[in-house]
Amino acid sequence: MAGPSASLIPCGQYKTDYRRDSTIFPTPMSRGFAIAAVLLLCLAPLKIGGTELLSPYQLNMLIQIGYYGIAALGLNILVGFTGQISLGHAAFFGFGAFASAWLSNSLGVPVFWAIPLAGLLTTLVGMLFGLPAARIKGLYLAIATFAAQFILEDFFSRADWFTGGSAGTIAQPFSIFGYELSGDRHFFYVVLAYVVVLYLFGANLLRTRDGRAFVAVRDHYLSAEIMGINLTRYRVLSFGIAAFYAGVGGALFGHYLSFVSAESFTILLSIQFLGMIIIGGLGSVMGTLMGTAFMVLLPEAVQAMSQSVGNVFPALTEGLAFLKEGAIGLAIVLFLIFEPDGLAHRWKMIKAYWKLYPFSY
């Protein structure tokens, strides 16, 4: 009676020791695949013989997927693994951005250090707002985080010393050993490095003690507690970790854009983060990245499409902007109707299908 997951390991692949049995990548193939993907990405910003491999536009998309993807992974740890819905993730993302800008502008911390430090500061804030999780659960908690979103947004627009108030603040370009990495082509590597490190860290975390504790708290907190898990600790900790990822993602965002203002961190972005992890697949590390890519590329695709629609039906140009906005909403709705378990699930099914092919039943 093999469960569905057991069947994903291809036939003929027998584990000979526990170490092999507990790698992040179930097969050497998938591991090789991942390494190849990272290497390939390293080439992305290069120019070969004067022609760019990727246009600046495409590179920009990748960078966005990178920093949003980092923050989204944090949210997935909180929502997908620990089961605590947060509607305030954008605020933490924003806090990281402001914190990093502030550290480098006002305290003169080099940006290289400001980014992880901003992550740590955000962790503190995240844990502070996560404290209610000790007492509040489920949707009540979700809406408490919704409140956190508005409270922090308000803070951003009035804490002049920290955020530059409603006008926002400039963020320094990234530099390392006095060497400035500001252009997209350079910054890409910074983001890539962060993505690789933080995704590996996340995947490791989730397969070890504390990661299991998160999932246990999600699946059955009463029995988790009786198994020796301190509920409050893990509930708050997962807010902290989520905030750390958000903070680092936000800091990268700020230094990439070189300008930070409260408008980037509205409830809409919080919801988009949720969209990323739901579309990618709750509780799936790689799915998070897929979901992020989906949410980043969707508006672009819609933009391109609406442009051509506008060309065909000039009468529609008037409402094009709204059509575009509406199309994004609609795409989310349709996606979830047809793929409610997310991209990661679909991906698994596809893999399973090919593994078992032609005996796919």
Binding site: R19, R209, V215, D219, I226
Partner: protein
């Protein structure tokens, strides 16, 4: 099993109320190390509530619980687990989306030292070594309970009987000195009950765990337990050897029914 050592668990005059319901009234008993101790009683008698008081889910309105001579009445459930108290649940309480393996690994939680930092750094902080080492212990448990074929299955998709077994495995993984089993055989057929009985006896005799078991199957209770108490309407109505209990008129009336033991 009549050693003179101190009891591993003492329940002293435990009373518990929920609003208008008096679930337990001054229930007291002692369990000696190495005992296989059963609690029986009609539905709603307060058996599960009693286990909940021991494992810390409920805190008794009055009375106290002593574990290995130490008063644990005020401790949280997770603190009790670290002291060596494990349990299973009447209504399945597995982590439904985790694999069987991970479910059992959760039982090792308090024995593991790695945390989110060392865990995240996996290869560099010793977490890997520790995980693999504990994995070995877990595999022993898996072998013992004969669930190696479902090791990687998602717990939520297993059949009822298997889930019960995984739950037992998870409780064993806590490495408890005292394990509390709430109706471990409910919903099983004869064959599975026999398996389960065997595991429990082994657990008790070979792994040296003290067991407190709630069970309605009188055949099992009478065969394997060393001592039995009977609860009825939240009160202890009998306490003794299995055979004595079977003959107790009060117990027959309240619990077994007047006929034979055919229901078992």
């Amino acid at each position: 099993m009549q050693s003179e050592t101190t009891p591993i668990l003492q329940a002293r005059d435990i009373s518990l109320r929920f609003g208008g319901v008096q679930a337990l009234t001054e229930v007291g008993f002692e369990v000696r190390p190495g005992e296989l101790f059963s609690i029986i009683g009609p539905n709603g008698a307060g058996k599960t509530s009693m286990l909940n008081c021991i494992s810390g889910r409920y805190s008794p309105t009055s009375g106290s619980v002593l574990f290995k001579g130490r008063d644990i009445t005020r401790l949280t459930p997770n603190q009790r687990a670290t002291l060596g108290l494990g349990r299973t649940f009447q209504n399945l309480a597995l982590f439904g989306h985790m694999s069987v393996l991970d479910n059992i690994m959760v039982g090792r939680h308090h024995l593991l030292k790695n945390n989110f930092l060392t865990g995240g750094l996996y290869w560099f902080g010793g977490a890997q070594r520790e995980e693999l080492e504990h994995r070995r212990h877990v595999e022993d448990i898996i072998d013992f309970l004969e669930i190696s074929h479902i090791r990687k299955s998602v717990a939520g998709t297993l059949s009822y009987g298997l889930r019960k077994r995984v739950e037992l495995a998870r409780a064993i993984a806590v490495r408890p000195d005292l394990i509390l089993l709430d109706e471990p055989m409910a919903g099983m057929n004869l064959e599975e009950k026999e398996d389960m009985a065997r595991y429990i006896v082994d657990l008790n005799e070979e792994w040296g765990m003290t067991v407190i078991m709630i069970e309605h199957d009188m055949g099992v209770v009478m065969d394997i337990s060393h001592r039995v108490i009977v609860l009825d309407f939240g009160r202890k109505i009998a306490d003794g050897l299995p055979a004595e209990i079977m003959d107790n008129e009060h117990v027959k009336r309240a619990y077994l029914g007047v006929d034979d033991d055919e229901a078992a």
